[in-house]
C-alpha cells in the first residue's frame, strides 16, 4: 500500500510535470517587453522660415521660433505673427542641443561659442536666455560648419571642424556647463592623395560600448567644388581621452560613397543613430545608374567598420536624408523619391519607418495617405520624445497652393498609430522641430 501511494505520487508528479511541459511547449515565447519609456516633460521648439524653407543658408525671410509645451491636435494653431522669437540676426537654426540647452557658434560672429535656452513666461511669450558665452581659444570655427559629439557622460562637448581652406581637421573640447575650452588640437589626418580639401565638417559620433569617437569624412578636389568627384569615405577612430587617431580606414565605394551630410555635421539633421545594442548606423549615398541613392549602413557593436552584408535602405527610390532611432529595432527616415522630382520644392520627400531587423520599410501614412514633405533636403522636421515621433508636414509645393496648414503628425512608436497634431499658420515652412527637456 505504501508502495502504491509512492507510485501514485510519482505518477502524479510525472503527469503534472508533463502537463506543465506540454503547456509550456504550446504557449508561444512571450515577446520581450519594450524598453519602458521614461516620460519626461518636453518643450517643442519649432523653427520656421516665412515663405520659403531656410535650410542650407537659403533663408531670405528670417528665422522664427515658437516654443510650445504640447503638439497635440487640441492645441491652438501655432502662429508667428507678433509671436515667438526672431533669431535671424543672432543665432543659427543649426545647433547642438542637449537637455534644455542649445550650444553653437552664433550668427552674430563675436568670435566664440554660446550656450542658451529658450524660456517661456506665464503669458506664453518666449525669450532667449544666454547661459554662457566664451571666446575661441586657438581653434576657430565658422557658424554652422562643425560637427560634434558628447563624451564623459555628456559633461564634455567635442567640436570638430576644418581649417586652412579645409586642409586640416581641428578639434576642441568644451566643458558643457560653462563652455570653457578644455583642450584643442588638430587630428593627425592627411588629405587623401589627389584631393585638395576635406568635406566641410564631416560627421562625428561617440560610441559608448567601445568608448571611441568615430569620425566620418571624405575629401574633394578643392574647397567649395560641390559637384566634383569626392574621395572614398574614411572612418577615423579616435581615443577621446588623447584625441589620437587610432585607425583611419577607407570605406569601399560599393558600401558607401558619401555620408548623407558632410557640411553641417548633425547641427540640423540626424544621419547617425544607435540601437539598444550600440550598433552604429550611418546614412549615406551610392551612385546607382548615374543617380545618387540613399543607403543605410551599420557598424555592428564590437566592430570598427561597416558590415558590407547589411543595408537598411535597399532598393532606394532616392536619397536618404535623415535617420532617427525610434527603439525596438525601428528607425524613422526622411528620404526622397527621385521619380517624383529632385527640385528643392518638389513634392517628393517622404517619411518612412525602417525595420532594422529585416531592412523592410513602410511609409508613414495618415488616413491611408503618405506623409509627404516638399520643402527640400535641408531640414529636420521630426523629433522623438516620450515614445512618439513628431513629424512636420506641409509647407510650400512647387506650383501648387497649400491645401492645408503646416501640420504636426504624431507617430506612436509602440503602436504605429499616426494621429494628427497641432497646426501652424500657413505660409511658414518647417525647418527644425526640436524636443527640448523642460525644467
Amino acid at each position: 500500500m505504501k508502495e502504491m501511494k509512492r507510485l501514485l505520487f510519482v505518477l502524479t508528479v510525472a503527469m503534472a510535470s508533463m502537463m506543465m511541459m506540454a503547456v509550456s511547449c504550446h504557449e508561444p515565447e512571450p515577446e520581450p517587453e519594450p524598453e519602458p519609456v521614461v516620460l519626461k516633460d518636453y518643450n517643442f521648439d519649432l523653427f520656421v522660415c516665412a515663405v520659403k524653407h531656410g535650410g542650407m543658408s537659403q533663408n531670405k525671410n528670417g528665422t522664427y521660433v515658437r516654443s510650445v509645451p504640447d503638439l497635440t491636435a487640441d492645441q491652438p494653431t501655432v502662429v508667428f505673427s507678433g509671436k515667438g522669437i526672431d533669431i535671424t540676426q543672432d543665432y543659427t537654426l543649426e545647433s547642438i542641443t542637449r537637455g534644455k540647452y542649445y550650444y553653437q557658434v552664433p550668427q552674430r560672429a563675436t568670435g566664440g561659442f554660446v550656450k542658451f535656452h529658450i524660456e517661456r513666461n506665464a503669458a506664453g511669450e518666449e525669450s532667449i536666455v544666454e547661459d554662457a558665452e566664451v571666446p575661441f581659444k586657438n581653434n576657430v570655427y565658422s557658424a554652422r560648419k562643425y560637427t560634434h559629439a558628447w563624451i564623459n557622460d555628456s559633461t564634455t562637448l567635442v567640436i570638430v571642424g576644418t581649417a586652412d581652406k579645409a586642409t586640416k581637421i581641428i578639434w576642441s573640447k568644451l566643458n558643457e556647463s560653462n563652455l570653457a575650452v578644455q583642450s584643442e588640437g588638430t587630428f593627425d589626418i592627411s588629405l587623401p592623395e589627389g584631393y585638395g580639401s576635406f568635406s566641410t565638417a564631416g560627421l562625428l559620433t561617440y560610441r559608448k560600448s567601445d568608448k571611441k569617437l568615430y569620425y566620418f569624412y571624405f575629401a574633394k578636389p578643392a574647397a567649395g567644388m560641390s559637384d566634383a568627384a569626392t574621395s572614398q569615405v574614411y572612418i577615423a577612430i579616435i581615443d577621446p581621452a588623447t584625441m589620437k587617431v587610432e585607425s583611419n580606414t577607407a570605406v569601399p565605394g560599393d558600401i558607401m560613397e558619401e555620408t548623407a551630410g558632410s557640411a553641417y555635421g548633425e547641427l540640423m539633421q540626424n544621419m547617425i543613430m544607435y540601437d539598444e545594442a550600440d550598433n552604429l548606423y550611418v546614412a549615406g549615398l551610392r551612385t546607382i545608374d548615374g543617380k545618387e541613392m540613399g543607403i543605410l549602413r551599420r557598424i555592428p557593436m564590437g566592430q570598427k567598420t561597416f558590415d558590407a552584408s547589411w543595408n537598411g535602405f535597399p532598393n532606394p527610390e532616392g536619397k536618404l536624408l535623415t535617420v532617427q532611432y525610434l527603439g525596438n529595432g525601428k528607425a524613422l527616415a526622411y528620404s526622397r523619391d527621385e521619380a517624383l522630382g529632385t527640385k528643392i520644392d518638389s513634392k517628393s520627400h517622404f517619411y518612412t519607418i525602417i525595420n532594422l531587423a529585416n531592412s523592410s520599410r513602410e511609409r508613414v501614412k495618415f488616413n491611408g495617405k503618405d506623409l509627404q514633405y516638399c520643402g527640400g533636403r535641408f531640414s529636420q522636421r521630426t523629433a522623438i520624445a516620450n515614445g512618439k515621433a513628431y513629424i512636420g508636414v506641409g509647407g510650400e509645393v512647387e506650383g501648387e497652393a497649400e491645401e492645408t496648414n503646416p501640420t504636426i503628425y504624431i507617430y506612436d512608436c509602440k503602436t504605429g498609430v499616426v494621429e494628427k497634431g497641432v497646426e501652424l499658420s500657413k505660409g511658414f515652412c518647417f525647418d527644425i522641430i526640436r524636443a527640448m527637456e523642460a525644467e
Partner: protein
C-alpha cells in the same frame, strides 16, 4: 513799372551769380542782388536751384557753393534734403546708401555734369568728390529726364561742377577728429588770346577713422571670457587721391565747347567690419585705382540753326583689388587668433583682382520745332567689363564677364501759356546684353543656370508737367514707367562682401509724383518758400540687398513686388540773406506687394513693411549770418541742424515678438558749425561739430557711426 513775364524769365536766365553767402534767391542789393531795382521795377530773380524745383520734374536742388567752405563731403549736404536719406556704414570714406523717396541702392544713378559718375572710377563717390569743385547737386525723384540716357528707377543725382568763365584758384585744407585730413585744389586758367582753357583739380583725403566703438565684446585678460567695453576702431584707415586735368577750347566757330580730360584716382581702404560689427576684421583691405580719359563736345546751332548737339566719349580703366589673405579672427582690442578662414569671405585666402573697364558713349540732339517746342534724342552706350583673377588662390579660375547697356530716348518738350505750363513727354528703349564667364559657387551665384550670353530689350516712357497758377502756388505732376537694369555690382558681385547673382532680373517700376510748390515774397527781405510732394512707386522685381546668413556676405535678390507710397515736404524761410530756417519731413511706406506666392498661396509677407529701411525721417536747420564782424567785407555764419530718423526693424515686422526683433534704433543727431569769411569770401575759416551731443548713432544694424567729431577747415578762393 513792372517788367513783363518774358523779360523776367530772360533776366532770370542771365542772372547766374550765386553769392558765397545767402539764400537761393539771389542776394545782391546795391552791389550784387537779392532784389534788383530797375526804374522802380522790382525783380526777384530765381537761382538755378529754384528754377529746377519749379520745372516739370520732381527735383530737389542743393546749392553746394554756398556751403563749400564748411562741408567735408557732398553726402552731408544732400542728406539734409527732403525725401533723401543717406545711410553710412561708418566714418570718412565708408560705404553709403542713398535713398530717394524710398528707393535706394542702385535704383539711384549718379551723374557728373550729366555723365555717369562711374566713369571716374569705382572709388569716386559723393563722399570723396572735391566739394570745392561742385556748384550744385540736382536730385531727380522717381522720374528722370530722358536726356540722362539712363535706366535709373528711383531717381538720379546729377552733380554740376563749377562752370565759371573767369579764372580762379580755390584751395582748402581741413583737419578733424579721428586723424582726418582733407585738401582740395581746383583752378581755371583761360587764355584770352588762345582761347585755351585749363582746369586742374587735385583732391586728397585721409582718415584713420579711429572713433570709439561702444559696448563691444573683447576677451578678458586670460582670454577665457568676454567683457564689454569701449574701444577705438583700429583698422579703418581711408585714403583717397583724385587728380584731373581738363583742357579745351570754348566759343569757337566749330564748337561752343570742346574739352579733353584725364583723371586718375586711388582709393585705399582698410576694412574694419563685415555686415555687422560683431564680425571684426583686422588685415583685409580694398584698394581701387582708376584712370579715365574722355572728350566732350557741344555745339548749338549744329548743322542747322535749330539743332543743338553734344556728345561725349569716355574710357575708364578700373582696378579693384581685395586683399583677404589672412586667416585671423580679430577682436575689437586688436588681438586675434590665427583662425581657419579668411576675414571677409570666410573661406580660403584670396587676393582678388577686378578689372572693370568701362566704355561710355553718349550723343544728344536737341531740335527746336518752334518757339517753346523741342525734340530731344539721346543715346547712351555703357559697357562694363568684369575680369576677375586671383593672385593668391591658385584654384581660382579667372573669369571674364561683360555687361553692355544701350539706352536710346526721345523726348518732346513744350512750354505753353507764356511759360506757365511746362510739359515733357519721353520714351526710352533699354537693351541689356550680358556675357557671363564666372562659375564660382553655383549654388549661391546661379552660375550654370543662366545663359552665358543673353540680350534683352525693355521699353520705358513717361510724362512730366508743371503749371503755375500764380507765384505762391504751382502744381506739377510726373509719371514714368521705368526700367532699371542691374548694375555689375549686383549681378557680378564686388569680390569682397557681395556675392554675384547672375539670375537677377531688371526692376520695373511705375513712378508717380504730384507736387505743390510756391514762393511768397513778403517784402522787406522776408521770403517763404515751400514744396510738398506725394509719390507712388510700384516696383516689380525689386532688387533688394540681403545679408546672407552664411558668412555675413551680401547678395542682391529680386523681390517680386514692392509698392512705395509716401510724401515729403519742405518749408524754408529767409530774411535778407541773414536768417535762414528750413525744415523738411519725409514718410515713405514701402510694402511687399506680392499677394500670392508662385504656388498660389497668400504670401505671409504680403503688405508687410519692407524690412531694414528707414521710413520716416526729418531735418531742421537754422543759420544766421552777421555782416562785417571784425573785418570789413567779412561775414560770420552760425548754423545748426538736427536730423531725426525713426527706428526700423531689420527683418519683416510682422513675425516674432517685438521684444525679440533686431532693430536699428531712432537717431537724433545735432550738428553745429560756424564760418568766418573776410575779403568778400576770399578767406574762409570754418569749424564744424558733428554729432554735437555724442549720440550713439546707427544707420545700419550693428554698424556704429562716429560720435562727436570736430572739423576745422580753411579755404582760399582767388
Amino acid at each position: 513799372m513792372r517788367i513783363n513775364r518774358i523779360g523776367f524769365v530772360l533776366l532770370c536766365a542771365l542772372l547766374r551769380f550765386v553769392p558765397l553767402f545767402g539764400q537761393d534767391t539771389l542776394a545782391v542789393k546795391g552791389q550784387l542782388n537779392d532784389t534788383l531795382v530797375l526804374n522802380n521795377a522790382t525783380v526777384t530773380a530765381r537761382s538755378q536751384e529754384q528754377q529746377l524745383r519749379e520745372g516739370a520734374y520732381a527735383v530737389s536742388a542743393v546749392n553746394i557753393r554756398l556751403q563749400a567752405a564748411t562741408l567735408q563731403s557732398l553726402t552731408q549736404a544732400i542728406d539734409r534734403s527732403s525725401g533723401i536719406r543717406i545711410r553710412e556704414e561708418g566714418g570718412v570714406g565708408s560705404d553709403f546708401d542713398l535713398s530717394i523717396n524710398g528707393l535706394s541702392g542702385n535704383a539711384i544713378r549718379y551723374f557728373l555734369d550729366g555723365m555717369p559718375l562711374d566713369a571716374k572710377g569705382t572709388g569716386i563717390t559723393l563722399s570723396n568728390l572735391p566739394v570745392n569743385l561742385i556748384e550744385r547737386v540736382e536730385i531727380y525723384k522717381g522720374v528722370i529726364p530722358a536726356s540722362f540716357g539712363s535706366d535709373a528707377l528711383g531717381g538720379a543725382v546729377n552733380i554740376i561742377t563749377n562752370r565759371q568763365r573767369r579764372n580762379y584758384l580755390d584751395f582748402s585744407y581741413g583737419l578733424g577728429s579721428f586723424h582726418t585730413h582733407k585738401a582740395d585744389f581746383s583752378a581755371q586758367y583761360s587764355g584770352k588770346k588762345t582761347g585755351l582753357v585749363f582746369r586742374p583739380v587735385l583732391s586728397a583725403s585721409y582718415s584713420k577713422n579711429d572713433y570709439l566703438m561702444r559696448d563691444v565684446k573683447v576677451r578678458n585678460a586670460d582670454r577665457t571670457a568676454f567683457i564689454v567695453t569701449d574701444l577705438p576702431r583700429f583698422h579703418d584707415a581711408y585714403l583717397s587721391l583724385f587728380g584731373q586735368l581738363e583742357a579745351g577750347v570754348t566759343d569757337r566757330s566749330w564748337a561752343d565747347e570742346f574739352f579733353v580730360s584725364a583723371s586718375v584716382s586711388k582709393v585705399d581702404k582698410e576694412i574694419q567690419t563685415g555686415a555687422t560689427q560683431g564680425h571684426v576684421i583686422g588685415m583685409a583691405e580694398r584698394n581701387t585705382k582708376s584712370l579715365n580719359v574722355s572728350a566732350r563736345y557741344a555745339k548749338k546751332r549744329f548743322l542747322t540753326d535749330d539743332l543743338d548737339f553734344n556728345a561725349m566719349v569716355s574710357q575708364t580703366w578700373d582696378h579693384v583689388q581685395t586683399i583677404d589673405t589672412t586667416y585671423r579672427l580679430y577682436y575689437w582690442d586688436g588681438s586675434y587668433i590665427d583662425g581657419s578662414y579668411s576675414e571677409i569671405r570666410r573661406r580660403g585666402k584670396t587676393l582678388r583682382n577686378y578689372h572693370r573697364p568701362m566704355t561710355l558713349v553718349r550723343g544728344n540732339f536737341d531740335y527746336r520745332l518752334a518757339e517753346g517746342h523741342s525734340l530731344t534724342f539721346n543715346y547712351m552706350l555703357n559697357r562694363t567689363g568684369n575680369r576677375q583673377d586671383d593672385a593668391w588662390d591658385t584654384d581660382y579660375v579667372p573669369t571674364d564677364d561683360a555687361l553692355t547697356k544701350h539706352v536710346a530716348s526721345l523726348s518732346y518738350n513744350q512750354l505753353l501759356f507764356a511759360g506757365r505750363m511746362d510739359n515733357a513727354f519721353f520714351i526710352k528703349d533699354y537693351v541689356n546684353h550680358l556675357e557671363v564667364g564666372q562659375s564660382e559657387i553655383p549654388s549661391t551665384t546661379g552660375a550654370g543656370k543662366v545663359e552665358p550670353v543673353s540680350t534683352k530689350n525693355y521699353l520705358g516712357y513717361g510724362v512730366g508737367s508743371r503749371y503755375e497758377v500764380f507765384a505762391p502756388l504751382a502744381v506739377k505732376a510726373s509719371y514714368e514707367h521705368s526700367v532699371r537694369l542691374p548694375v555689375s555690382r549686383e549681378v557680378l558681385g564686388n569680390g569682397s562682401t557681395v556675392y554675384p547673382n547672375l539670375a537677377l532680373t531688371p526692376e520695373i517700376s511705375d513712378n508717380f509724383n504730384l507736387g505743390l510748390f510756391g514762393t511768397w515774397d513778403l517784402g522787406d527781405g522776408h521770403v517763404i518758400s515751400y514744396e510738398a510732394n506725394g509719390f507712388v512707386r510700384l516696383v516689380d522685381n525689386y532688387i533688394q540687398a540681403t545679408v546672407s546668413e552664411t558668412e555675413g556676405m551680401m547678395q542682391y535678390i529680386n523681390v517680386a513686388a514692392v509698392h512705395v507710397k509716401g510724401m515729403d515736404g519742405e518749408i524754408r524761410y529767409d530774411w535778407a540773406g541773414r536768417l535762414h530756417l528750413a525744415a523738411n519731413a519725409s514718410y515713405d511706406d514701402s510694402r511687399d506687394s506680392r499677394k500670392y506666392t508662385q504656388s498660389g498661396d497668400l504670401s505671409v509677407t504680403y503688405n508687410n513693411r519692407t524690412p531694414n529701411r528707414p521710413w520716416s525721417y526729418a531735418n531742421a536747420e537754422v543759420s544766421y549770418t552777421f555782416h562785417n564782424v571784425g573785418l570789413r567785407d567779412s561775414r560770420l555764419r552760425l548754423m545748426a541742424d538736427y536730423q531725426w530718423v525713426h527706428w526700423f526693424y531689420l527683418t519683416w515686422e510682422a513675425f516674432g515678438s517685438a521684444s525679440s526683433k533686431s532693430r536699428v534704433p531712432t537717431q537724433h543727431i545735432t550738428n553745429a558749425s560756424l564760418l568766418y569769411s573776410w575779403q568778400s569770401g576770399r578767406y574762409n575759416v570754418s569749424l564744424e561739430c558733428t554729432n554735437l551731443f555724442d549720440a550713439l548713432a546707427f544707420d545700419n544694424y550693428m554698424l556704429q557711426k562716429p560720435g562727436r567729431a570736430f572739423f576745422l577747415k580753411f579755404r582760399l578762393f582767388l
